[in-house]
Structures are given as C-alpha cells and as structure tokens.
Amino acid sequence: MVGDEMKFKKKDKMKELIETMNSCSLIELEGIPISPQLDDNVDLLKKMFSDCSDFVIREFRQKNSVRAIAVFVDGLIDTKEVNSALKSLMVLEDGDEDIKVIEEALLPVSQMGRVDDYKKLLQAVLSGDTGILVEGNTEALTLGIRGAEKRSVNEPEGEAVVRGPREGFIENIRTNTSMLRRKLRTPRLKMKSLVVGRETNTNLVVAFLDGIADPEIVQEVTGRISKINMDAVLESGYIEEMIQDNTYSPFPQLMYSERPDTVAAALLEGRVAIFVDGTPMVLIAPVTFWMMMQASEDYYERFQMATLVRLLRYIFLIISLITPALYVAITTYHQQMLPTTLLLSIAAARESIPFPAIVEAFIMEISFEALREAGIRLPKTVGQAVSILGALVVGQAAVQAGIVSAPMVIVVSLTGIASFTIPHFNASISLRMLRFPIMIAASILGIYGMLVALLLILGHMANLRSFGVPYLSPLAPMSIGDLKDVLLRAPWSMMEKRPSFLGVQNARRMNDGYANSIQERGGQSGVTGNRHQSEEGQS
C-alpha cells in the first residue's frame, strides 16, 4: 500500500517534470532517475531536445516486442558501429530485456557503461556515446562508440624542434591521453577525469605519476578545478586563469605545451598535467620561472650545446627586458657612460629627431608590437606584405624622414629578436609587457629608476608561488642540488635525482652509481676489457 503510494507519487513527479521541462543545464538534472516507462523517457527527452536537429531518438523493438530506444547525437558517433550494435539488440529474444543481461552477455561493444540518472546519461550522450534505454528498466546503457571528426596528429607549430618527436596534441582529449600513455607505459600514470562548465561540460583529465608527484599538489590541483563554476570552458586558458595563484601577476603560473614529450617529462619531474577537451594545449603545474626558459630540445641535444643555448637565452632575456630602457636611461641621464665616439655618433643620429628619447622609444616599440600583432592575425599571404611594409615604413623611411633615429631602430629590432628566443610564448608576452614600465621608470629616474623597477619585479617574482612552489626555486629558495638543470643543463648521467623543490616522493631517477659504472666500462679501456674477458671465456 505504502509502496504503491510512493510509486504513484514518483509517477506523478515524472509527469509533472515532463510538463514543466524546458531545456536546461545538465547539473539541474542531477538525481532525476530514468523512468521504467519508456514513453515517459521519450517524452522527457523530446521536450528537452526540442529544436535539436542533431539529436536522434531511434525507437526500435526487440524480437519479443519489448520496446527500446537508442539516443545519440548525429555526427558524434560512428554510424556503422552503432548500426551493428542495434542489429544485435534487435534480434534479442524473451527474457533478455534486463539491461544487466544485455550489458553482460548480449551486446558486443567493448566500451559500455550503465547509468541510472539523466545527468550521467546525457553527459555521455552529448560527449558522443550512444544511450540505449529499454522498457521496464531504470538504468540505461551508454555505448562508447564515438566517431566525431578530428584533426590528424601533426607537428606542433608552436613548439617546433630540430631534434625530437614531431607529434603534437590535437583537439580530441582521448587521442591526447593516448599519446601520453604511449610515452609512459606504467600503471603509475594516473588520469583523473573531471567535467567542468555548466553548458560546455568539458572533459578534463588530470594526469600525474602516482608515487612520484606530491599527493598534496595533485589534491590541490583537482580541488581547485572542482571549485570552478563557470558556464563554459573553451580552452585550457580558462582553467589556467581560474586556478592560478595570483591573478594580477604578469607572469604565467602554469605552463602549456602541445608536445607529449614535454608533458611526459614534466610528469616525470613530479608535476601534474591538465588535459582539456577541445584544445591541443595541455597545462602543466606547478611551474617555475626557469621552466619558461627551457625547451624540450635542451634535453635531446648534447649537454654542452644545450647549456650554451640556455645561457644565450638568459642573456637575450635580459636584453629583451632592459635594452630600450637602458638606451633611454643612458642617452638622457648617463651620457658619461658611453665611449666618446659612440656618444658622438648617437648625438649625430639624434640631431634632427624632434622627440625625446623616451617618446621615440615608445613610438618604435608600440609600432613594433602592432606589426607583430598584425602579422599573427593576418593570413599568411597578406602577412608578407605587412613585414615588407613594416620594414620599409618603420625602419628605413622613419629614419630617413628624421622621425626616429637609427640607433633606436637597432635597439628595438634587437629587443624584438631577443624576445623571440624565449621558448614559451606566454613567458615572452609577459616580458614584452614588463618592458614598458621599466622604460618609463628609466625615463624618469635613469638607471636608478630602471634598477628600482627591476627590483620590484624581482621581489614580486620571489613572492610568487605556483601551487605552493616558489616561482624562482631552486634559485630562491636555494637548493644547490637542483641548480644543474637551471642555468646549465648537466649531462643526463649526472641528473640522478628529480627536482626536490616539487616535493617528489621517489627522488631517484637512476640506480646508485649507474653513471659511474657506465663510465668505467665505456671508452677505449672498456673495449679492450671486454675483449679480454671474452678471450678468457673461450679458453
């Protein structure tokens, strides 16, 4: 009696729901059960997906006339595979209407799930699964037969290398995780799945190496992501901005990469990767400033060259940050610092320039930024025109017309080239931005002002943290053992330990004394030694 009443009430609730149902977000569907009456389900779905031309509800019967429906989004599924799955469902006989039996024994589909509420069902269907609802069941099946269009794996354009793998992530998150799994074939590689975005329902995967990454950092990352309450996540940049430590800092506190090898290397150092569906850019956290100055190729080339290239990058980092400021400061305050002949040539070049040096610097720097921006947005064929125009107008013509001086053009172009040597784009933009306040400080207070500005920036960097890891570590706070991968790149045989400042659990990369044993065996002595041994074995 009581049970009947309950049932009746439930039924009523369903009817009521169907009547009031409008299109809504998935979160609002949490806890709404799938009705055993198929008609109710069909009504509800039809109402929910009214005016959705790509949403398909395919009604069919099993051989014993038990009704069932398949729901899917056209274009997200692999039609051929779904057809064959439906075919095997349609031939089912008596007693095979229980969804559990169908799942376990009757449907030859490798990826399948059982769900009992609408939120889970629709999440799966909208991600490309096919939902199967059978009359009389309060659960539904989701068949993971996806077949959406996707781009093929290409060389990553943003992070090209001379030596190293040439595959880059694509927009499909499954393909991306599979590429990572191909690099790290270990059960330690964990991939936690999350869904973010009320309307986009974007799939996220938080990947880390269990037993290497600091569990607290993993906890922190997943915690921050699950707190996000946005309607849409269209790119990993949304996630980055929502979970970073300091929103107002000009420095990026997460790194992104579209290279599986870079992500794998980061995981092996105990970091966490965040895959976002729909973008090839995978986030890496926590990061340090020095990571922004490293390219994956540093680790593939021999260490001497890698070290030199790294030093070169640091030099050009400083150049890109302070050259215009230094030029302004020296030519307006500290003329005594220049060699006399240089001062005379600068004076001669500036003779007919109507603007003070700082205005000149701003004109040039801003037009350079504009040129760069124009070059990015324009189609490739028009882009060439921009560079020609830019070189002519901003370079030669401006000098000849006496609007800017030739030394200023040299300074600006040097700065531009220098900023291109920074391997990670988001780091290079922040340095591009910081150039301007330093220039202003230099124009007001000379080198003193420049140094004050630099010190403020340095203080901010020392204060900054990325998921609890100091931004300048291992330099500040100092940990000497980790320095061999900061300014230099030590040979692999010497990098026996993972960076300690990330709180890694399993610090050793190699067995004890591995490098030594190689060196003892290596070289000429090793060869003769081996030969000697084999001769002994023969006799």
Binding site: T331, T332, Q335, Q336, L343, L344, A348, P356, L445, G449
Partner: protein
C-alpha cells in the same frame, strides 16, 4: 590587493623623494666638450677655451658627400673671466646647448699659466663632478687655444689627435697623475709639451707634434726640455714604453737600436749628511737598423755594441740628472726613493727643502744592456759577400 597597491604607492613616492635627480638631458641638447684649454690673461684673469664637435656635420646621415668642402667638424669658443667657472658661464651664455664636460679627455695648459702656477685652476677640474680624472693633461708653448684650433688630417678634432699622441709617447700624464705628483713631496711634475705645426709638405692642415717635456717645481713651470735631452727620463717612468736611439759607430756608420725593456733601480745612501744615489739600469736592446759593415754574428762586435750602448745610456741619464740638478726639479722622484729608505732623515731634514737639496746630491750609474736580438739577417743582404770586410 588594496594593501599591495598602497605599499607600491609608498615605494613609488619614496623614489621621488630620495632621488632628486631630475637632470634629464637629451644628447642633441648638449655640447660635448672634447678638449679644453686654459690660459692666463692679463690682470690675473683666465681664459678657457673649449673644443666642441658639431655633431650635425659628423655624418651618420645618408649621402654626406662633401667631405672636402672645408667645413670644420668642430667649433672652438673661448671666454675670459676672473675664475674658470665665470669664463665657462660666459661661453654658455652664447651657446645654445648645454656644455657637457664629462667627455673631455684632454686639458691643455698655456705656457703663461704654467709659469704662473696652475694649482688654482686645477681646483675646478678636480672639484667639478663632470670632469674625469683620467683626462690627459698637456701644455704648449704660447696659448693653449692654438692647439684646439689646429685641424689635423687624420682625426676629426685636434683633441683626439692629442690624446692618441700622448698615449703613444713615453710620458703620459693624466689629471690623476698630475694631482699625485703635485701633492707628493719628493717628486715634481712633468707634463708633455705639444705644439701645432704645419704639415710637411705644407698643406692646409695643422698637425700636432710632441716637442718636449715641461719640468715643474711645485706648480710652476721651470723649463721646457727637448725630448732628446731627456732620453734617460724614459727609463725611470713607471710604465716603460719602448723607444729607439741612434748609435753612431763613426762619422759614417751608425745603427738604430730599440730598447724593448727597461728597468731602473735607485738606491740612496746618506754618508755624513751627504746624499749619494746608486742607480742600476737594466735594458734589453734590439737592433732595428744596421747602416754599417759590422758583422753582428761575431761576439766581440756584440760586446762592443753593448759597451757603446751603456755609454749612451749613461750619458742620457747623466743629462737628465744634470737637468734635474740645474733646475731643481725632481722629475724622477729621487726624493720618494730617499724617503722610503731613510724615513726619519727625510721627515726631519729634507722633506721641507728638498728642492734646495737637489743640486748637492751625487750619484753613480751602473748600466747593463742585454742585446736580446740583432735581427734576422746579420748582414745587409743587398751588399755582396766580397764587398764586405
């Protein structure tokens, strides 16, 4: 966030209070002084002359072309005032650009001023922060301004030419050196003397030539010695620079010998209130030119050359010390050496009247010449074998 903004503002405001150096000036609003000359004028007034490059005529613009048009690439202006600074202000009053002294690397002292004592005018040079102590100081016979108006052919300004010449010559005196020489008892100052001479064959350019060395007692010029009278002086310089001498064998035959290394060792002795110096000289010599039939492969010839060189060096040092005694100007710092060996006697007896003591000193010279190298070919290759000996 609000707190950070407040903190930043405090720091920024402090920056303005602390610094107070709003002295921005653009390079095209400055008159960069390359060289400056100071002269004495009647009635105890001073003339200051500055040499300023006209940067607009220095090129850097495309085209250019007319390099021979005769337009000078510099400009010399001078003014007379009761003080150097007053004269400077007079020049500034008719100069559209701010006079900027940080790059002047030559100071020329006129003869009158040198004779009259120059420590008064050097005060401004040392006190004014824009001046560099590394600037070289020279003097000239006559007016200093004449050196500034000379237009040498190689360099764009005579200031640059003077600097290069002074750096090449054996005796370089920077402002710092001069200040040290003037303030240290037991040594007197020397300043190289330059002159503007006509180029040879005569062109329209005036070249700068090093003609001698000015000897000072305290801050006053006592005499100008010819460079060749002071060959010995070069051996006593702190930084020895190689130089050449001509070694005559007889009326017709002579050699040119270059001293590549040189070192002087002075040891004073006080015997019964009488100061006696033992001077040891070590030099390495290289034969540059052999205009004689001397066979340098033979050891006895080398020995002979060495004795001749020793004589020549001794004569040079003798001349130098004679000059020192005659003019009572201790240009090689004999007094300093004495003070190091006999600090007590120096303090009590000689320090205050060292220049009067100078003529009374005696000395002996021991020279040693090491013939390091006599050239790759020992004989004159253009002379045939049988002609020789």
């Amino acid at each position: 966030m609000k707190k950070t903004v407040t903190r930043m503002l405090v720091v920024l405001l402090c920056m303005f209070l602390v610094s107070g150096c709003w002295d921005r000036r653009e390079v095209n609003d400055m008159a960069i002084v390359i060289a400056l000359a100071m002269d004495k004028e009647p009635e105890g007034r001073y003339r200051i002359s500055i040499q300023v490059p006209l940067v607009s005529s220095l090129g850097a613009q495309s085209g250019g072309g007319g390099g021979t048009s005769g337009d000078k690439s510099y400009y010399v202006d001078s003014a007379v005032g009761r003080t150097i600074r007053e004269a400077n202000d007079l020049i500034q009053a008719r100069m559209s650009r701010e006079i900027y002294y940080s790059h002047h690397r030559m100071i020329v002292i006129g003869e009158e001023l040198a004779k009259d004592g120059m420590s008064d005018v050097l005060d401004i040079v040392a006190r004014f922060p824009e001046n560099r102590l590394t600037a070289y100081i020279v003097m000239t016979k006559g007016k200093g301004i004449e050196l500034l108006t000379a237009q040498p052919q190689f360099e764009r300004f005579s200031g640059e030419a003077m600097r290069e010449l002074v750096k090449m010559g054996g005796i370089t005196v920077s402002l710092k050196d001069l200040a040290q020489m003037l303030s240290t008892p037991g040594v007197n100052a020397i300043i190289p003397v330059l002159a503007a001479v006509d180029s040879h064959p005569k062109g329209k350019s005036k070249e700068i030539e090093a003609t001698g060395v000015g000897l000072f007692r305290n801050d006053k010029l006592v005499t100008i010695a010819k460079a060749k009278d002071l060959t010995g002086l070069r051996l006593f310089q702190r930084n020895f620079t190689p130089f050449s001498v001509v070694l005559p064998l007889n009326k017709k035959e002579r050699l040119t010998v270059n001293f590549s290394k040189g070192r002087a060792n002075i040891k004073p002795e006080i015997r019964k209130g009488h100061i006696h110096y033992k001077i040891d000289l070590y030099t390495s010599a290289v034969v540059l030119e052999n205009m004689s039939n001397l066979d340098l492969e033979k050891e006895k010839n080398i020995k002979m050359l060495q004795t001749k060189l020793v004589e020549q060096i001794n004569r040079g040092v003798n001349d130098t010390i004679k000059t020192i005694k005659q003019y009572r100007s201790d240009i090689i710092g004999l007094g300093i050496v004495l003070s190091r060996h006999y600090p007590h006697e120096w303090q009590e007896r000689y320090r205050s009247r060292w220049n009067e003591e100078l003529p009374k000193i005696t000395y002996e010279i021991h020279s040693k010449v090491n013939m390091a190298n006599f050239g790759q070919t020992t004989k004159n290759i253009t002379q045939s074998e049988d002609n020789h000996e």
